[in-house]
Amino acid sequence: MSLTKLLIIWPGSPVMSMLIWIVVMVVLLYLARTPAHRAIHSLARVFHNAFRLMARSVMLAEEKLVQRNKEVLLNAGVESVERLIEREFHRVNSVVKRDLSGYPTLHRALSDQTTKIDEDYKDSSETPPPPPAWINAMEAVANLPSQGDGTVANILNEIHKTSVSQYKNTMAEYRKSVAERHNLLKKMMPYWRRMAQTLEQVGKTITGLHERANVIDNRMTEYEEIREQTDKSARMLTASSLTQFFISGFVLLIAIGGAVINFNLIALPMSEMVGGGSYIGHFKTANVAAMVIILVEVAMGLYLMESLRITRLFPIIGQMDDKMRTRMIWITFSILLVLASVEAALAFMRDQIAADMQALRQSLAAVEATGVAVNSWIPTVGQMVMGFVLPFALTFVAIPLESFVHSSRTVLGVAGTAVLRWLSFFFRLLGNISRYMGELLVNIYDLFIFPPLWVENLIRDKRQHQPEIIVEEEASR
């Protein structure tokens, strides 16, 4: 017996059977209303609480991540500022070594110059002509009245002549001494100039040091702010990291472009060395070999930059003693040089193979080569130069790579925080939705059983009104 037949209560009238079933269902649902409401509420509450709990957990995780990000960021900031301050101190040190190490010599030179100038100055000081000792006696005699005495007049004339000639001699000597003084002052001029230059040089050095001191002061202020773990410093470091991330990412993209060009330069000739028909997995061995060469070049570039202490990706290299580090610099540079030479040779071979292939294709297509290629050595030399230069250019990938690695930690942290925040919001939303869905389900349930509910309401209203009517009737009696 099929289910349809079982459901037909009123034989021959499926509509009546359906109506009877609906009535039965409504009655059953009405009877089960209270436990059903409780069940729906419980279910909604379970979902609501579960989602709230999940949201809370995610929020806690987000808070921890934010804290951790801040710690990492501040540590990185401290390290960065320490490096900057260290570099500034190195600069100050080199300035002091270069300019102020000769300060005693400079001091001596200045002292000598000052002494010389002082001596010359003393020599050049003006000495008025000494007045003759007998000038007063002569003046007294000259003032004597002659009283018409010729002898006295003659004597007085002689005295006058003598005094005039004495005056002339004295003035001549005075002029001579003034000229000598001027000569001495003239000789002093180069000394003055030299001293002015020396002092100017000292002034410049002192100004440079003053500027460095200002830079160090600013860095120290920044350092102190980071050490105090202020929000302002964290925000500044985050912004700086994001900028670094995008800039270094852009430079890395350029480097990848260079690597692709490099790969195309050496992939074809590599097939001459490792075979063009062999595969490693799904990849041609020649392509894998070319890629390996490029990656080795990049690795050597990283080691070289580490050894030069330009980057700090591998602390173990940075911590090596200077002798070992110098050895490492030479070894990595030699390997790079060899690889660059190999690449230049491969680029040359590529040109030869390409020309051979072109000739074969032309012969297969029965096309005669028209004319002679103009300046055919230019692409060959160009390829060789590119093959030689690109490995060294790839060396500098280490710098943006370091920035990218360091800044990506911050960027990933920020992205992770954002994801967790959104996840938390989503869970809270789901919690609230499940809560209100419970309410909605209860209302829909009641909608299905609205006839008995309506009757129930009517009866309830009637029962509530009945005592009031009795009271009113008793009152009217």
């Binding site: 074809l268 097939s271 001459e272 075979g275 063009g276 028909g277 062999s278 595969y279 490693i280 997995g281 799904h282 030869q352 193979i353 051979d356 292939m357 074969l360 294709r361 012969s363 297969l364 297509a365 029965a366």
Partner: protein, 215 residues
Amino acid sequence: MKKYLTLVLILSALLWGCPDTTSYSRGVYMLLDTSGTYKKELKRAEAIINYLLGTLQPGDSLAVARIDSGSFSEKDIVAKMTFDKRPSVANQQKRLFKQKIDDFVQTARGSAYTDITGGVLQSVEFLNEAGAGRKYILIFSDLKEDLVKGHVRDFPIQVDGCNVIALNVTKLRSDNVDPREYYKRVEDWRSRVESGGGTWRVVNDLERLENIFEG
């Protein structure tokens, strides 16, 4: 020390244990119909061979054989070669191959019979021996077999993993009278190849030879 040795041994075993044995080389066997009127089409066949020489890579194999009265024999192979893995050597081999084909086209004589089935069997043997990863049998013919009396060729052929491509399937005079003959001929070959485990294609537009290695 012992720990490192164990690690090295495990790594060696892992690397030794899963070598990549997949062959990525291509093997192409081209059958040339030299019977009757079809001999005039050999210039077109030469163009196809030149295309193949320009397309095939170092490590690939190429053979060209003519469809004769009894094609299931080595003497009908015009030229066969597995190109060296070095591109420069492979280019030299291709030049040599082209020379052989040029000589053949100039001196080829028309054959009285057409044994396509024998040629296909011969090509399957060659391709299997060459160890090609992708096998192509190119039939440059009108697909009309004309066997020596007594030769038996109406049996199922085994072309597992082979891409059989009929090139330049020309219409015969009788096809013009009743085109159903042409379609029946092509369909018969399709069913023979596909029941033998191979794939079947017809490329009549020789301006689009790149279709040979597609699909």
